[in-house]
Every structure is written in structure tokens, then in C-alpha cells.
Amino acid sequence: MNILEIKNLKKSFDTEVIKDISLTVEEGKVVGIIGPSGSGKSTLLRCATMLETIDSGEIIYMNEHAVRTNPDGKAVYASPKELRRIQRYFGLVFQNFNLFPHYSVIKNITDPLITVQKKSKNEAMEIGRRLLEKMGLSDKEHAYPCQLSGGQQQRVSIARALALNPKILFFDEPTSALDPELTGEILKVIRDLAQEHMTMVIVTHEMSFARDVADHIIFMDGGVIVEQGNPEDVINNPKNERTKAFLNRFER
């Protein structure tokens, strides 16, 4: 079953940032997206999560079209009501966490459950506490985001996304805003999720992590997919010159 299908996605700001990208994510698979800054990785994620509107192409979650393209090549989004339903299929973990600073850790996780999914407070608290325990943050339930380290904040934001029980979870450079000694705790959480067969798309600069955790690696540059395949092939034996040059820079 394909959780996500993207077909011929194009997106321009002033210049064309994404030039005709297609990809599919199957249930239980982890896709790693790597590539230099400005290659369009983050924009691709923002298009998939509908934080940006695309120019043309199709985005399909669970066989439901969020966006189609009419014959003259213009993207047409589903109705707001349909989009709200489709939105529940995915979650997004931001580079800068974007926790709500005025809510305690537990409220950051439970408020969307209560406000958006109309769950009871008790049920939400149960879900929140279970996820905090999973993230090793049970003792921080009543803390505020400003009292946590970057790594802890990111774990809360992962818990917040997981609480809504998405079919697929996107990570936009989840460790880029963290001190090097804190990246490990986030990578471990994502590894654990991969072992539980959580479907994920991860944009990252952590090459060895991407190789270890992903089932499929996509190398992007200049708004196109330059090379893709299984992690061993792409990261250890890249065929394309641009992939080689990029990975070489990372080795050093």
C-alpha cells in the first residue's frame, strides 16, 4: 500500500525550486532525502505537508488526492473539508521544533488531541503520558519548552506529532538545530520508530544515519532527483558524479 504518492511535482518561487519530482512511499518504509543546501529537499517536504502550494503535479495520500492537475497543467487542491481529513494522515517534525512556548510539555501534546481530534481530556492525557514515557521525558510533563534542552524539545515535538497517530511522519532536518552531542538522542528515537515500522520521510544531513535507518535514499540537487536507490548503493557506491562530489565533501 502506498501511503504517499507524489507525481510530477513542480514548484517555483522566483526560480524553479522543484522541477518535476515523483516519488512513492510505501507503508512501513523509511525514505531518506539527502542533498546540498538549496537543492529543494525542504521545499519538497513543505509541499507534501501543504505548507507551500504547488504549481502543478499530484499529491496523493492513502489513494486520496490532496492535489490533482487539470489538463492545462494547473494544480487543483481538494476542498478544505477533504484537505482537513487528508491532513490527518501525516505529521511533521520541524527543524526548529516549533513547540508552543505558553503550553507545558504535556499540554503541547494533548491540546491538539482535545482541540482538533475532540478526544476527552483523560484519553488525551493517557496518550500524552504514554508518549512522554516512550521519549524518556516522563519527569518533564509539567515543564515548559524554555526549560528543556534542544534535544528534549525535539523529542516533545516528535511526541506531539505521534500523538495524532499519523500514517506517515515527515522530518525536516530534525537534528540541524541541535548541538552535536544532542543529535544522538534524536537519531535513536527515529531509529526506534523505524524498528516499529513507522512510515517516515526524513530530510537529513546525517549521512551515516540515513544509510542505517532508510530503506530508500533519494539524492536531490537543483530541484531534481539526481540518484535514488537502496542506501548501500547510493551512499557507498554512488554512480552519478554530483552524488559522488556531494558525498565526498561529507566524508571530510
Binding site: M50, N96, N98, L99, P101, P112, V116, P145, A161
Partner: protein, 242 residues
Amino acid sequence: MGYVGHGSVPCPVEFVIKLNGGALVELSVMLSILSKGMLLSVEIFVLTLLFSIPLGFVVTFGRMSKNFIIRNLVKIYISIMRGTPLMLQLMVVYFGPNLIFGIKISNEYRFTAVIIGFVINYAAYFAEIYRSGIESIPVGQYEAAKVLGYNKFQTFMKIILPQVIKRILPAVTNEVITLIKDTSLAYVISIPEMFSQAKALASSQNTLVPYAIAGVFYYIFNYIVAYIMEWIENKFSYYKIS
């Protein structure tokens, strides 16, 4: 004295303090007259805040509207409110209906005019404070809320507004304190608030003491308000905005 010079200003009877043949009054009488004026000042203060704080939100939404016409009309309104003296605005609101439209103005309209004048002036200032607060909230907060499925109303009420309030409280405190002192401008349309009374007393008694007392009253009023605002600010100090 200033208001005597407004030849066309109708001077209300109740405004003239009737003293026994111009005899000197005791300090206690002065205090009681000034206290009554103070009550009126407090009334202007409370009513102005009551209406201008919510109205400021309406104005700020207009100012931030995507509609070109609405946005620019609101911009002009704010520009006039901030670009002309409040004293003049009070006079326009009070005398305007008569001078422009020939409507006969009643004595009761005097107080209404003061409230209207203060409210539309302060709403403009509050609106600009709100706007600065709303625009200072990182876009990531909106994006996180959107991805989590909050609708626009929920996002504003639950995520954005609480953070905006925390950010703008110091600026709002400034305005509120300025308003206390601005209530004295109501004397221009002969509202018997504290400053008007002090002025009347000063001229009839030939002493500056009423002004000194009024100054102390204003200060005490401000001190209490500043204390309350600080207490509210402390209520919001349990978190830091990243």
C-alpha cells in the same frame, strides 16, 4: 485661562463651582470637589479601556486585511488619530455634529463625546501595538498549528493570542498610564473631571494648591494601575517566548 478663550464654547451651568460669595473654602472642601472630579476621570478611564481594547483588535485586523481598500482606509484613520492632537479630536467629536451637520447638541452628549473621542483615539494606538505583537510571532507557530490540524480561529485564539498578549503588555501598560493623564484633556469640552475642577478652584481661590493635590491624585491613580499591570505581567512570566 485656556477655555475661557473659546468664545463659542457653551459653558455648562453645573461646571461653575458655586462658592459663597467668593469666600475661601477649606482644604477639606477642595479635596471633596477634587475627589468628585477624580471619580469622573476614573469613569472616563474605565469606559475608554472597556471599548478601545476590543475595538483595537477590529482595527488591527482591518489594518492587516488583504483587502486593499479596507487596509488603506484603516491606515488613514490610524494616521489621523496619531497625527493630530487628542484635544482637537475631542473638540471635533463634540462640536462636529453641530458645525458640520447642523445637529443640535445636547448637554448629555458632552460626556458621550468624550468617551467616543478617547475610544477612537486609543483604539488606533492599541491597534498598532497589537499589530506589532501579532507580526512578531514566528511563522513556525502558525505552521506547527496548521500541520497539527488547528483551524485559523483556533490557531489565533489558542496559539497566537496568548503569546501576543505577553509580548504587548509592556507597551499596553504605557498607553494605559498615558490615558490616565490624558483624561485631563476632557476639560477642553468642559467636562468637570479632576483637572477642570482643579483649574476652577485655582482661579476662584487664587491658589495653586488644587493643582498640587490633583497631581498627587493622578500619581496615586497611576501607581495603582501600574501595580495592577505589573501583576498581570507577572502572571505571564511562567514561560519565555523563544
